[in-house]
Amino acid sequence: MDPTEHLPLSPRDLMILAVLAEGPNHGYGLIKAVEARSRSGVLLDPANLYRTLRRMRSLAWIEDLDDEAGRRRTHRITREGRAVLKAELGRLERLLADARPAVAGEG
């Protein structure tokens, strides 16, 4: 799989992958964790979140873990997911590096 195939990622996808890269989480935890990074400007609602999660799962970026009770699913990032996240972060960093000098003097 080519991790750059799906780039650029939407801010929402990026934030979800970034949160999951820190460890598995469930849906509500994801909403709160993304919200806590309030500077990102990404605010999730349940319907969109699960829609996105389903898409990521079909792309094999994440996988579901059933918890003990089997009631609430926990989501974990896969190797592919990490590769995509890394590729996107790299792309953004290069983009920033290229763009920044243009306004550097204006503070």
């Binding site: 469930h26 849906g27 509500y28 909403i31 605010l43 609602d45 349940p46 319907a47 969109n48 979140l49 699960y50 829609r51 999660l53 389903r54 609430r72 699913r73």
Partner: protein
């Protein structure tokens, strides 16, 4: 735990997602619920809600497109996906054909909206107030001790009742809040520490009261914290002046806490602990406490009752206060707290629910024949489409889509109506509905009413399609629109529907008639005292210790008030007429009087009033005179009796004058006054004794000032002037109300006015619906008979005879409905028995009047189509043949 309505709505909408994402529905709902629950701030909660709902449509559309796209991709053309596309096509088609008949579409949508909206509004209130569990932990185990208030010593012995795990008591009164701006009179409740635990109350700031708190600690309710102090977090720790004493705010109650209205005054703003050293709490003479408790798991009400009865019996051994006058044990019934909370409003709301249910039925019947009429008019269209190759299934689906579209659009409008109606209802309702503040739309009943409307639409919308089944296409085409025999059946159905509608409307109109007549009868009651030009000011002078203090304070205030330019007279007493209504009585009374050692058993109200009271209110003296200022302070006490008491004790008014008797004091009758409506227009005052204020035996924090203004009126601001008059004597005394006696009168009948207005509205709606139904049916009938009429006219029938024939059909149907409805109306009158006044429940005039209204409406509704039929141009109709 019950979910918030908004969460339930979200959960319901998520059901519309395609199946693959629907698997996550449970988690989505849970996430949404937790987002809601975790957010304490209302604004933030609203933002979350808007975000979640606002983004839902886009997700919905994208999901369905992807879902259908994915299904189609593998090349399976006849999958469910394909069929779903057909449904969309049908819906589009349905909308297009509805747009071509805007009158029909509007009427049908309107009907669904009225039915769904009104039922949902009223049921939401009923459900919330009567049916839904109280918002307290283990609410099904909470009990309440009836028979008014209870004494401190009784409460403290309640611990001996072992079937109850915790008791709590509360006692409400108004207190003065001073120190900032005008002095205010605000409701305070004293509660035991168990109160908070019993009801699961929590503090939003600071802490709640505990056993070590005294009079100097106070908790502020969440609502007061927001409205009076703008939610200032610095309120905790501040010192307030309550009844002139400093009290420190130790905490703020959770704003979501619903105070139990069976125990404390609604709108209680301050909470304080009991001071058990207080005299009044150690005396079995003083019944101050409202008591509730939580029974142990698995214990029934009967065993709690047995425990309380046992305790009362034990207490009665040593204390006569636990026996009644007749020597029986005092009864303290144990009921569930929920039962107690809704006891008074149950009947009124139940009746409203019945009325609105009838309205829904009328709306559905109307919807039914609207669809029938439209369907029958399209028989030919259906036949043509069938001839062009449409299958029965296609036609059915198309009609189904139409019915669904109407039902859903009506449901949407109805929901909006209900949301507005609910706000209106709670705002206008003059009774303090228990727990009305927290009413919200009920989604189950919305679903039920909507389901009923859609079902009606679907059922009757499909009739034309079903009729077509089995019939030869060519039959209809050959028939050429001429009345085919098959319509006879459906005609009977339509006529039946009209009759039923008329019958249901009659029930509503007759019920409304009874209530309106009761209202008129109440309004027509003679008050027995002057109402015009009188203004009154109820006061609660809390600092007053003795009767002398109260007397000198009130005499001073009355003197000031009499000095206001434009004021003719000022008087005062413990209460004024119409201050207390609806079964409430004030404060001082006696059980019977003794005349020549003969006991006259009666519940007697005692009214200490100033001399000017009789002149100011123009009370009619039927015998004797009022006491003079010089006599007032003398003994035996000079009194004026009400006529009922004079009759009971002395045989007649005239016989009473000059006689002596014993109340709780020795008295001599100087005059007798006609019975008046002191406690409201619907209640005769009954046995009462007016006596000079000078003989008030105790200090009581209650008095009521009245002034009569001169006919020329007062120049300037009378309420302001009256307040100033009070404050010139008592600068810290709150003056919450200055109201004209007309205002008090208005207030005392507001409940009845509201109820009749509501019933009147429902009845009018039903009447209009029935008229529209009749009109539509006759119009259709006229259209059906156009050719017949054309031929008749061509053969020489007069216009008048044609019109009469149709008019007769309309009135005949109405008459059938009226006969059907009279029985129902009579039965409805029985249900209304407790609500009506001055009119018989089966009042023939009301029933006939209602029947007359319906017949008159029917006459108008039939006349218009009849006239149109009469104007048929025979040449024209015959040419189109």
């Amino acid at each position: 735990m019950r979910r918030r309505p908004v969460v339930r709505l979200y959960a319901a909408l998520l059901l519309l997602l395609p199946p693959d994402l629907r698997g996550y529905r449970g988690e989505m709902v849970e996430a949404f619920e937790r987002m809601q629950a975790e957010e304490k701030d209302r604004g933030a909660r609203l933002r979350i809600t808007v975000r979640a709902f606002g983004r839902l449509p886009a997700v919905m559309v994208l999901e369905w497109l992807e879902h259908l796209g994915a299904r189609r991709a593998p090349g399976r053309t006849t999958t469910t996906g394909g069929r779903r596309m057909e449904l969309f096509r049908d819906l589009r088609h349905a909308l297009r054909s509805l747009a071509k008949a805007p009158a029909f579409a509007l009427a049908a949508v309107g009907l669904v909206a009225i039915g769904v909206g009104s039922v949902t509004t009223i049921f939401s209130v009923v459900d919330h107030v009567l049916l839904r569990a109280l918002p307290y932990p283990d609410e099904e185990r909470l009990v309440y001790l009836q028979n008014g208030s209870h004494s401190g010593p009784f409460y403290q012995r309640l611990d001996e009742v072992e079937t109850v795990e915790v008791w709590a008591a509360a006692s409400s009164r108004d207190v003065r809040l001073t120190g900032s701006g005008e002095p205010r009179l605000l409701p305070l409740s004293r509660v035991t520490p168990g109160f908070w635990e019993l009801l699961g109350a929590r503090a939003a700031r600071g802490r709640l009261l505990n056993a070590s708190d005294g009079n100097d600690a106070v908790v502020v309710s969440g609502a007061a914290w927001r409205s009076r102090w703008g939610g200032d977090p610095g309120l905790v720790g501040r010192t307030l002046q309550i009844d002139g004493e400093p009290a420190v705010v130790v905490g703020v109650l959770d704003p979501d806490f619903e105070a139990p209205e069976a125990l404390v005054d609604p709108g209680t703003e301050f909470w304080r602990a009991f001071d058990w050293t207080e005299e009044s709490l150690r005396d079995t003479d003083f019944n101050l406490l409202q008591v509730a408790g939580r029974v142990r798991v698995g214990v029934g009400l009967e065993s709690v009752q047995a425990g309380v009865d046992g305790l009362l019996a034990a207490l009665a051994e040593s204390d006569v206060n636990f026996r009644t006058r007749e020597g029986e044990l005092v009864r303290v019934p144990v009921v569930s707290l929920a039962e107690e909370t809704v006891y008074e409003v149950r009947r009124g709301l139940g009746l409203l629910l019945g009325a609105v249910g009838l309205l829904l039925l009328v709306a559905c019947a109307n919807l039914a024949h609207l669809f029938l009429a439209r369907g029958l008019g399209r028989t030919r269209e259906m036949a043509v489409r069938r001839a062009l190759g449409a299958r029965t299934g296609d036609l059915t689906r198309h009609l189904l889509a139409e019915s669904l579209a109407v039902g859903l659009a009506g449901g949407l409008v109805g929901t909006l109506l209900a949301a507005g109606g609910l706000r209106l209802f709670t705002a206008l309702s003059p009774t303090a509905l228990p727990r009305a503040a927290s009413v919200s739309l009920d989604l189950r009943i919305l679903g039920f009413a909507l389901g009923m409307a859609v079902l009606t639409a679907v059922l009757f919308g499909l009739v034309p399609a079903l009729r077509g089944v089995g019939a030869e296409v060519s039959d209809h085409l050959h028939a050429g629109g001429r009345t085919a025999t098959g319509t006879r059946h459906s005609r009977r159905l339509r006529h039946g529907l009209v009759a039923v509608e008329v019958a249901l409307s009659l029930i509503l109109v007759a019920s409304a008639g009874l209530l309106v007549r009761s209202f008129v009868a109440v309004q027509a009651q003679e008050t027995g005292f002057r109402v015009a030009d009188v203004w009154t000011v109820p006061l609660s002078p809390t600092g007053v210790e003795t009767a002398e203090d109260l007397l000198s304070l009130m005499e001073g205030i009355a003197g000031e008030a009499a000095g206001i330019p434009g004021v003719a007279e000022a008087a005062w007493g413990l209460t004024m007429p119409l201050e207390l209504t609806g079964g409430n009585r004030c404060c001082w009374g006696t059980r019977g009087v003794t005349v020549d050692s003969r006991e006259v058993d009666a519940r007697v109200s005692l009214h200490p009033v100033s001399v000017a009271y009789f002149d100011l209110l123009e009370l009619e003296l039927t015998a004797g005179r009022r006491w003079s200022a010089g006599e007032a302070a003398g003994t035996p006490v000079p009194v004026v009796l009400s006529e009922p008491l004079a009759a009971a004790a002395f045989g007649s008014a005239a016989a009473a004058v000059g006689r002596s008797f014993e109340a709780s004091f020795p008295a001599v009758v100087v005059g007798v006054t006609a019975d008046n409506r002191h406690y409201g227009l619907e209640t005769p005052h009954g046995p009462a004794i007016y006596l000079p204020v000078e003989h008030l035996p105790f200090g009581i924090p209650k008095a009521h000032l009245a002034v009569r203004v001169e006919a020329a009126g007062v120049t300037g601001d009378l309420p302001r002037a009256l307040r100033e008059a009070v404050w010139s004597e008592a600068p810290e005394l709150p003056v919450p109300t200055v109201r004209s006696l007309e205002g008090w009168l208005d207030r005392s009948t507001a409940e009845r006015r509201f109820q009749s207005a509501l019933f009147g509205t429902f009845a009018t709606l039903a009447l209009v619906l029935a008229a529209v139904g009749l009109y539509g049916t006759l119009l259709y009938m006229a259209g059906e008979r156009r050719k017949e009429v054309g031929i008749r006219l061509a053969l020489g029938a007069t216009r008048g005879s044609v019109e009469r024939r149709l008019l007769r059909s309309g009135l005949g149907l109405t008459l059938a409905g009226v006969l059907l409805g009279l029985g129902g109306a009579w039965y409805a009158g029985r249900l209304l028995e407790t609500q009506i006044f001055g009119v018989e429940r089966g009042d023939p005039a009301t029933l006939l009047g209602a029947a007359g209204v319906l017949l008159a409406t029917a006459a108008v509704a039939s006349w218009l189509p009849a006239r149109r039929a009469g104007r048929t141009d025979p040449v024209e109709t015959l040419r189109t043949e």
